[in-house]
């Protein structure tokens, strides 16, 4: 084994990537774990914002709709890197102002929480649009049928509208998840030690740029591939009851 790696000139890389110091593999995996935590949290927050946003845009009053229009337009117009800088610094500034007003000192903003908040707000804007489109694609007759049987509005949303819109929403939501995992890399600019920042640190201290960025790329690829598998299953479930275009049975 060592002989083979030696002959390929990879022994050094293997050493650099080993999980225990002096290898940097552990750092990379820790970075990945942070990235995934933020991606999960931001995605979940984004879905909640998106659901409220979609219902607000479809059924809300004029003020609600206007506010949501501003939200989705601005968030989708401004580059994400800029938004992250704005939301991060504005967010921590507000927290510190509140803390000062209540007589407290400077608050150290938790990196994961800040990342989730910043990316979640960005994700929410896209999720709002995806879910709004999906809800509109549900045949109105199905919602009307629920109403005609006396089903209350919230139960109709939970039992009819959301399950029925899933098949329309899942492809878009799968994309959004992949964007979430990759957008975590942008948090490097605010000094958060997610995968990209960990990689850069490892690379610059060892000068083995190629090795580390290739390894990081590989990790992102693994995440994407696993997500693809998971979303394929979710999509199959969401499409239950719909004959596939290729024909064949259930």
């Amino acid at each position: 084994m060592t002989g083979l790696l030696d002959s390929l000139g990879l022994a050094q890389s293997a050493e650099l990537l080993s999980l225990s110091p002096p290898g940097w593999g552990g750092n990379l995996l820790r970075g990945l774990s942070h990235s995934l935590q933020i991606a999960f949290g931001a995605y979940a927050l984004g879905l909640v914002i998106g659901l409220f946003g979609a219902y607000g845009k479809l059924y809300g009053g004029k003020v609600t709709r206007d506010l949501l229009a501003i939200y989705t337009t601005v968030i989708r117009a401004v580059p994400e890197l800029v938004l992250i800088l704005i939301l991060y610094y504005v967010g921590s500034d507000i927290i510190n102002k509140i803390s000062a007003a209540m007589g407290g000192g400077r608050v150290e903003v938790n990196g994961v929480a800040a990342g989730i908040w910043v990316l979640g707000v960005v994700q929410g804007a896209y999720a709002t649009e995806i879910l709004r489109g999906a809800i509109q694609a549900v045949p109105p007759g199905q919602i009307e049928a629920a109403k005609s049987f006396g089903m209350p509005a919230f139960m109709t949303m939970r039992r009819v509208t959301i399950p029925a819109m899933m098949s329309f929403a899942v492809p878009g939501l799968a994309n959004l998840w992949l964007i979430a995992t990759k957008d975590t890399a942008l948090l490097a600019v605010v000094g958060f030690n997610e995968l990209t920042l960990e990689t850069r640190q490892a690379a610059s201290s060892t000068r083995a740029y190629f090795t580390f960025f290739l390894a990081a790329g590989f990790l992102y690829l693994v995440v994407t591939l696993c997500s693809g598998g998971v979303f394929a299953r979710i999509e199959k479930w969401a499409r239950r009851g719909q004959p596939s275009l290729k024909g064949g049975s259930r």
Partner: protein
């Protein structure tokens, strides 16, 4: 079904005979006045057929009864209970309208089954989640109902894998599952291929024979004549003529009704 009947409070004698009472119902869409003061009473056990040309307001009238459309004005009384309305016609008591809707089961022209649920799940949905019937009991009843409409072997099939006639029969089973006091049918066979119409009409005929109260919008004149005990002819948002099937079909008085009948038969 019998057990469910036993739980409903005993209706008082006179009002209970009036299953549905519609008084002076008006409905406009913007400037277009679609219903111009319609009044109609259906007693328990009545089968009322509503006929009329396209655009005469039949669907609008039927949908107004369970407030899928908001009437512009008028009074609607269901099983002796007056539906509370705002001045603009919208129901003012959400709980009341939801409760009343559970007693009025609607069967739609386009079936409107929930496509992400199997037939069994469609049939137990409202009993379990809205009426809070124990699930095991709802499932047992759903199997009986599916059996009754000839779909006993399709309980685990999704609607998209069924013919229109089968879907409509499943929709009827779904409606029966709430043990409705009145069934509202809006052209239940108009979306079906001619050879599938018969199987659905057979089911409806059975329901009529067992004394169910029904309001039935239909273009099937022969069928209306056969199952209805009261026929209402709508013309441009007004009831132009009504009476027993023998009178309306056998001896129509209004010129418009005569013309209508000759055009559809």
């Amino acid at each position: 079904m019998d057990t469910a009947k036993a739980v409903t409070p005993a209706d008082d004698a006179s009002a209970s005979q009036e299953a549905i009472k519609v008084e002076d119902l008006h409905k406009s869409f913007g400037k277009l006045e679609v219903l111009k003061g319609v009044s109609l009473t259906a007693h328990k056990g009545d089968v009322v057929a509503i006929i009329g040309g396209s655009g005469s307001g039949k669907s609008t009238m039927l949908r107004s009864i369970n407030f899928l459309e908001t009437p512009s004005s008028g009074r609607i009384t269901i099983g002796g209970e007056l539906v509370e309305m705002h001045a603009d016609g919208s129901p003012s008591n959400r709980r009341q309208i939801e409760r009343i809707r559970t007693r009025l089961a609607m069967v739609f022209q386009q079936f409107n089954l929930w496509t992400h649920r199997t037939l069994l799940e469609n049939v137990i949905e409202v009993p379990v989640h809205v009426l809070k019937v124990p699930k095991a009991q709802a499932i047992k009843r759903a199997h009986e109902l599916l059996e009754r409409v000839g779909l006993g072997d399709k309980a685990d099939t999704y609607p998209a894998y069924l013919s229109g006639g089968q879907q409509q029969r499943a929709a009827i089973a779904r409606a029966l599952a709430v043990d409705p006091s009145v069934m509202l049918f809006d052209e239940p066979t108009s979306a079906l291929d001619p050879e599938l119409v018969g199987e659905v009409l057979t089911v409806i005929r059975d329901l009529a024979a067992e004394g169910r109260t029904m309001l039935l919008v239909t273009h099937e004149m022969k069928f209306a004549r056969e199952v209805a005990n009261h026929v209402v002819y709508l013309y441009q948002g007004c009831i132009e003529e009504q009476g027993s099937p023998a009178e309306v079909f056998g001896n129509p008085k209004s010129e418009r009704l005569k013309q209508f009948l000759s055009s559809v038969t």
